[in-house]
Subunit: 199 residues, 2 copies
């Protein structure tokens, strides 16, 4: 059976996205944060190819409602931020309070909408992931919930050299958790640290 991992791009001050996401602003309203936090993904694909692959190599994904789409009336027809062929190529479980039929897009990505909580989503994701990892993809609130519940095995931080000052903060209201450094390396645009969560 695979592990439960969460790999996430994070600013030096601990934010993973801005506030007030809208249809054309998946990372919220801070003008530079999207580019700032993702630049290494696009600008240095060769140097970071293992880390880029690791962000989309899981056998199933879990994400929060706000990572899937902006709040608002278009929810029932919203197809995600990622176009016709999302990069997941696997089942993606979206935590939501509003039931919706599953949505299959090109390339093997199917979004399932889970209304009965994080444990249920994890159980379903593990079933479909088989031997592969389950990835808690984000956003901050979703990763924080799984961290708090002790359900994540490895945390892969991609620390981007910017202080953004506000937004959605990873590590809000955490218990004390000891980590073990498994790997660390970087380029001039990002520092990668892979932690095992000690239980």
């Amino acid at each position: 059976m695979g592990k439960v991992i969460s790999g996430i791009c994070i600013s030096v001050d601990g934010f993973v996205a801005g506030l007030h996401m809208t249809e054309d602003k998946p990372f919220g309203e801070l003008p530079n944060i999207h580019q700032s936090l993702c630049k290494w993904l696009f600008g240095q694909a060769d140097q970071n190819k293992n880390e880029i692959a690791s962000l989309t190599s899981a056998g199933a994904f879990i994400m929060g409602r706000n990572m899937f789409g902006p709040t608002g009336a278009q929810y029932s027809t919203w197809q995600g931020w990622w176009g016709e062929e999302p990069p997941y190529h696997a089942p993606v479980f979206v935590l939501t309070h509003t039931a919706r039929d599953s949505l299959s897009l090109q390339g093997g990505t199917t979004f399932y909408f889970v209304t009965d909580g994080i444990l249920s989503a994890l159980e379903q994701a593990k079933k479909l992931a088989g031997d592969k990892d389950v990835a808690i993809a984000g956003g901050a609130h979703t990763v924080n919930q799984y961290l708090k519940a002790g359900l994540i095995d490895e945390l892969w931080l991609h620390i981007v050299p910017v202080i953004v000052g506000q937004g959605q903060r990873l590590f809000e209201e955490m218990p004390e958790i000891n980590l073990e450094i498994l790997e660390q390396r970087g380029t001039d645009l990002v520092t990668h640290i892979k932690y095992r969560i000690l239980k």
Copy 2:
């Protein structure tokens, strides 16, 4: 002339100390945080000798009142947490609201108590540091004030693999600040990242 640097041990979730420091708890009341954040300093002196040296190699230091000592009646005679020979061997400017005569201890450390603000402390520290760097030693509130004011040239983070959950957080209420990665390396107990602050 030297640079203004701040080197600080920080948890993965961005805390540099616990809450409620007392005479025997310089890092606050979280039972494990002192040991957690400093273990690499003592346990791996050889592997981290450049970083350890960098924490005390400045020509002058600035620290907040709470880093110098706990609040309480003994302030007028308190001599710091560091015993008879503090590791600074240089002038240390303590930001405080309560005037006090300077305090000279063994090995060249003299504490000066500055009541007229961060700019005045920096000006005095630069004068005494000569060609050497001025270090903003902590705690979180003091480093945050200097960061916000745009007065720090380099930020040296020593990221310790622990989530502590509460305490004094670096990077509170920051403006957006772009950084440049100058160096990054680590051991199994700590990740060192040296950032230049872009202005």
